[in-house]
């Protein structure tokens, strides 16, 4: 529980002490700590193992760029791998464990990789695991995957809730440091709607980490006032703990808000995280800058960290990285760390500055023109080897080393729409290029304006400019007086001398030598070097490593930094859990479920449901004693053939077509003719795509001269409606016709079987005449049922039996199914589901989704003669293409199994008996198959080459997946009642 490295002061809440555990050991901290700051306070330096070599690693940064200190949080299903300890807000009872080590962090068996490292250089797996080839999938890859890697998921369903939402604003300010605060205050005063988002849990950015003054007072004083003003403004939404991770088209930004991660016990009503889509008219990017390391031998030991992070830990969290520290820098910023730590009573052993002309900014030993050549200490730094300007060497004992290689403006979001940063030699940094996402401006350190004054000024200016474009008046805000120190830096990337590996990418274990190897093997493009070495491909996306790697590559290829360029920046800026993208769309809420009006009734009957697109449909209705679904389905099919059955067909798409040109419109969308269809009659319609393939089929009922009701298949309802609107609006805007989808407005039931008319006679209101003369096959009518309920009746049949479809407004659907069952009881009515529906239509040879799969022409269905040549209709011309209509092409046929009950598996391919079962002899395939209770044998529909001229032939059916060969007789696809006597009653 001791905190040997805790200092006085800081911005932590000492009145709120907390306890947490790391690898099972209990530690203390305070509200306001991160996991990293609390571990450092307890002098825990070893926090992780590297990805490939399992090198001991410590905390390197104080922000979201952290590559080393990745930990697993929480127990059980809530376990959250790869959390960056530097951004984890400490709460009471937090449980954290280290990763990628076995059996323990201090003793990790896989550290043997480090000894073997000369065999594991860049691209080693491309070269090493080549032979034998089949070992890759079975052995090498699983072995490599289990040896490498970071944290593991729990494998259990995530118990937390996530949400997604939209936000709108005039100005989005990304980043709440001095630039962002100045921008937000300027905008707030103009009355514009402002969102200020920052990934940190406190706003203020580096103002929290520095000892700078504003208007002569500590920065905290001004910061308090600024935040009070913003909190009080009704037009400002402050969003701490919110990472803006991507800049998308047209001013849309993606942001992840961590709503409850910092709470020991989250209230039940709060989601854990929210994924926001922020639509902004303008944005100011004030994302600050990320410090970068210098590469030198063994620069990855625990205790070596970025100088700015070391300073942040001291100033914000009152934590010394160690009681004795040293600093290695190439710019003035490293000296700030030395003087701030000195001021807090930490011993500064030395400042090693690569610049020969460096000036000390405090009372510490300065080695000018010096470099760090090596470091010592396996699990924690003990000393650094310094080579001084005169070539002499000195060993500096220290427990921590702050390194500053300069600062990289956080340009990522400026590049999300193909922009590229440009190299600024005076800053030794890539700065935002000219090609920013539309509506975005950049201010502060993100734009290379590194001083506090420049950050405040540029933030305010960028906001004023953006607001003026939007027509807001934004009076210039009075900005506080602040330091305006120039950037003094001498580019210095890596130490060439020294023994030992010099690390660039800490997370993926890539060294300067690996980049050299890539160049030696012919890679020049920065994108190729990235992929060959895996540099920048870890969860930190090279935030620290990239610039150093580009410098190494530039050096080796004799090009400048700008010419070498950066790799492409892509979203997200920091990792976003998939769960946040999913939000509430998971489990049964993954997509909406559409229920038919008879759903509750069907559930009461014990129906088994099946998904049909978004719909849930009753698949079959098992009765007590039925042990296999086939028993149920056979019973339902027989009931339709012998008595009467009722099936909910509400899900079929329905489109109401009205207007004086309605018939002309149908003539356009269907390949067969509709203008001569009389009122009160229904016609089958075949709908083609423009390329001549069948899109869908259905019926059109003419209720009046200018009024049709079109039906579509369940699966294609949306597609067909879209297509019909396309034809109406884009191709035939000359026609007087209107469309509306009424699929959900009408509940519709098929009433099928010899007793169908008798059943309906019990519910239709007089004087409606159901007699076959008044209401023959393919008739339709509007009528009332059950004493006044509006209804539509269609005499159409999918089963081949005398059948009707009756539709009532959806609100009567539940009542109607109950009435139908009651009225049908004396006639032996049986409800049937989609499975029996499928058997009935296969017996009758009706094509459905399996046959109309988008690769079927009318000729394949033997329906070419339906395609009218007397009119123009969609798809007619190209349906007649030679390749689609050739005489020896595929034709729809029926198959009857020769050995009776053995199922003919759909998807099996067809061969002439005795011919080899190979693609060269393939003659077709089975599309739909069923057991026919009517015929007492298995049957199928199939596409067979020249099928229409092969009736009576024997065909061999190959099902190689199950090693099965069957035989069947080729028959006409209509297995039952080809003359249609049952249909007409």
């Amino acid at each position: 529980m001791a905190e040997p490295n805790r200092l006085d002061g800081g911005r932590i809440d000492r009145a709120s002490p907390l306890t947490f555990s790391f690898d099972g050991k209990t530690f203390a901290g305070y509200r306001g700590d991160t996991l990293a700051s609390a571990l450092l306070a307890a002098n825990v330096k070893l926090v992780g193992r590297s990805f490939k070599y399992h090198r001991p690693r410590g905390i390197l940064t104080a922000g979201s760029e952290e590559p080393n200190a990745l930990v697993g949080l929480h127990r059980g299903a809530r376990h959250d791998p790869n959390a960056r300890a530097t951004t984890v807000e400490l709460h009471d009872g937090l449980v954290a464990v280290s990763q990628n080590r076995w059996p323990s962090l201090a003793f990790d068996v896989m550290a043997v990789n480090d000894v073997l490292s000369r065999f594991l250089t860049a691209g080693f797996y491309y070269k090493t695991f080549m032979w034998p080839k089949r070992f890759w999938e079975k052995f090498y890859e699983p072995a490599i995957r289990s040896a490498a890697g970071l944290g593991a998921l729990s494998g259990e369903p995530d118990p937390d809730r996530y949400d997604t939402g939209f936000l709108h604003c005039d100005l989005l300010v990304v980043g709440g440091g001095p630039a962002g605060l100045a921008a937000a205050m300027t905008a707030a005063r103009s009355g514009a709607r402002v969102i200020l988002a920052d990934e940190d849990f406190v706003l203020g950015g580096r103002l929290n980490a520095e000892t700078v003054t504003l208007d002569g007072e500590p920065a905290a004083v001004w910061l308090r006032r600024a935040l009070d003003e913003l909190h009080a403004a009704h037009n400002v939404r402050l969003m701490p703990r919110t990472s803006v991770f991507g800049a998308y088209d047209h001013g849309v930004y993606g942001a992840l808000e961590r709503v409850a991660d910092h709470l020991a016990v989250a209230p039940a009503h709060l989601p854990r995280q929210v994924l926001w889509r922020i639509r902004s008219r303008r944005a100011v990017l004030c994302a600050g800058a990320t410090e970068r390391p210098i590469a030198f031998a063994n620069n990855d030991r625990p205790g070596i960290m970025l100088a700015g992070a070391m300073r942040a830990y001291a100033n914000r969290w009152a934590v010394a990285a160690d009681r004795t520290v040293a600093v290695f820098t190439n710019n003035d910023d490293g000296h700030r760390t030395a003087s701030d730590l000195l001021a807090r009573g930490v011993s500064v052993a030395a400042v090693i500055d690569a610049r020969p002309d460096a000036h000390a900014q405090g009372n510490y030993e300065l080695h000018r023109g010096a470099i760090v050549e090596n470091t010592r200490g396996r699990k924690a730094l003990t000393s650094v080897d310094v080579r001084r300007a005169d070539g002499s060497r000195v060993t500096v004992p220290c427990g921590a080393l702050g390194v500053s290689g300069g600062w990289n403006p956080a340009v990522a979001l400026t590049c999300h729409q193909r922009g590229r940063p440009s190299w600024d030699a005076s800053l030794a940094a890539f700065v935002p290029g000219a090609d920013l996402p539309p509506g975005m401006a950049v201010a502060g350190a993100a734009n290379g304006s590194f001083s506090t004054h420049a950050a405040l000024q540029s933030g305010a200016d960028a906001a004023s400019h953006a607001l003026a474009e939007l027509g807001f008046e934004a009076p210039a805000a009075a900005l506080p007086l602040a330091e305006d120190a120039p950037v003094r830096i001498q580019a210095f990337w890596h130490v060439a001398s020294g023994k030992g590996r010099t690390w660039l990418d800490f997370q993926n274990d890539v060294t300067v030598k690996d980049v050299g190897l890539a160049v030696q093997e012919g890679f020049r493009s920065v994108e190729h070097v990235k992929r060959y070495t895996t540099l920048g491909m870890a969860t930190d996306q090279g935030k620290l490593a990239n610039t150093g790697a580009i410098a190494a590559l530039a050096d080796l290829t004799g090009r400048g930094m700008g010419e070498t360029g950066t790799t492409m920046f892509r979203p997200p800026w920091t990792p976003v859990p998939i769960a946040a993208f999913a939000g509430r769309s998971r489990g049964k809420d993954f997509r909406p479920a559409r229920l038919t009006p008879s759903h509750d009734w069907a559930a009461e009957q014990g129906a088994v449901f099946v998904e049909a697109g978004l719909w849930l449909r009753a698949q079959y209705f098992p009765r007590p004693g039925e042990t296999h679904w086939r028993q149920t389905v056979d019973r339902e099919v027989r009931a339709v053939r012998q008595a009467v059955g009722v099936c909910d067909v509400t899900t079929l798409g329905k489109v109401d077509v009205q207007g004086s040109d309605a018939a002309a419109f149908l003539n356009m969308i269907y390949c067969n003719g509709f203008s001569k269809l009389p009122v009160s009659r229904v016609r089958y319609g075949l709908m083609l795509r423009e390329d001549g393939m069948v899109m869908d089929d259905g019926t059109a009922a003419r209720l009046a001269d200018d009024h049709f009701v079109v039906t579509t298949t369940t699966a294609n309802a949306a597609l067909v409606y879209r297509h019909m609107e396309f034809v109406r609006q884009c191709l035939r805007s000359d026609l007087d016709v209107q469309l509306v989808s009424t699929t959900e407005a009408w509940a519709q039931y098929a009433v099928a079987g010899p007793h169908a008319r008798a059943l309906l006679a019990g519910i239709v209101d007089p004087p409606f005449d159901l007699g076959d003369d008044a209401f023959p096959y393919m008739a339709c009518a509007e009528l009332t049922v059950c004493g006044g309920v509006t209804a539509r009746l269609f005499r159409i049949s999918f089963s081949g039996e005398r059948a009707y479809e009756i539709a009532v407004p959806a609100c009567y659907g539940d009542s109607l199914i109950r009435v139908l069952m009651q009225a049908g009881a004396p006639h032996g009515v049986t409800p049937y589901g989609t499975e029996a529906l499928g058997v009935l239509r296969i017996e009758k040879g009706h094509p459905a989704g399996n046959e109309l799969n988008g690769q079927t022409s009318p000729a394949h269905l033997s329906m070419a003669r339906l395609v009218s040549t007397k009119k123009d209709s969609i798809g007619a011309v190209l349906s007649r293409r030679e390749g689609l209509s050739e005489a020896d092409g595929l034709r729809l046929v029926g198959l009857e199994a020769m050995d009776g009950e053995t199922a003919l598996p759909a998807g099996s391919h067809l061969f002439a008996p005795g011919r080899p079962h190979d693609p060269g002899h393939d003659e077709g395939w089975i599309t739909s198959a069923a057991y026919s209770p009517h015929l007492g044998r298995s049957i199928a529909l199939a596409f067979l080459a020249r099928g229409d001229s092969r009736l009576g032939e024997t065909i061999e059916i190959a099902n190689p997946l199950q090693g099965q060969t069957l035989r069947a007789t080729v028959v006409h696809p209509v297995f039952i009642d080809p003359e249609g006597t049952r249909l007409h009653g």
Partner: protein, 95 residues
């Protein structure tokens, strides 16, 4: 992406379904003598420009309008959005 719907104002692109080149508006006459050649060209010969492109979007989760959207495929900037019905009527009026 945000699509500026001519009737409904700016709408999220996810409300729309994309079809493709607005050249589909210029459907040939199916009864023409060389209809097969005309339809081949109509259906299969499309431009795929890097730059300004006129394309058809359907407001499926909205008012069911087909729109002709003029978009720069390089920058995704949307320059114009019109009702496809208006565009088709105008073309017919202009012969």
């Amino acid at each position: 992406m945000i699509i500026p719907h001519p009737l409904l104002g700016p709408r999220d692109a996810r409300e729309f379904v994309y079809l493709g080149d607005a050249a589909l508006l210029d459907r040939p006459d199916g009864l023409a003598a060389d209809a097969d050649r005309l339809f081949h060209d109509y259906l299969y010969l499309r431009d795929n420009p890097a730059g300004i492109h006129r394309e058809l979007w359907f407001h499926e989760h909205g008012d069911r309008s087909w729109l002709v959207v003029t978009r720069d495929t390089v920058t995704h900037a949307i320059l114009k959005a019109e009702l496809a019905g208006d565009v088709a009527r105008k073309r017919r009026a202009n012969g």
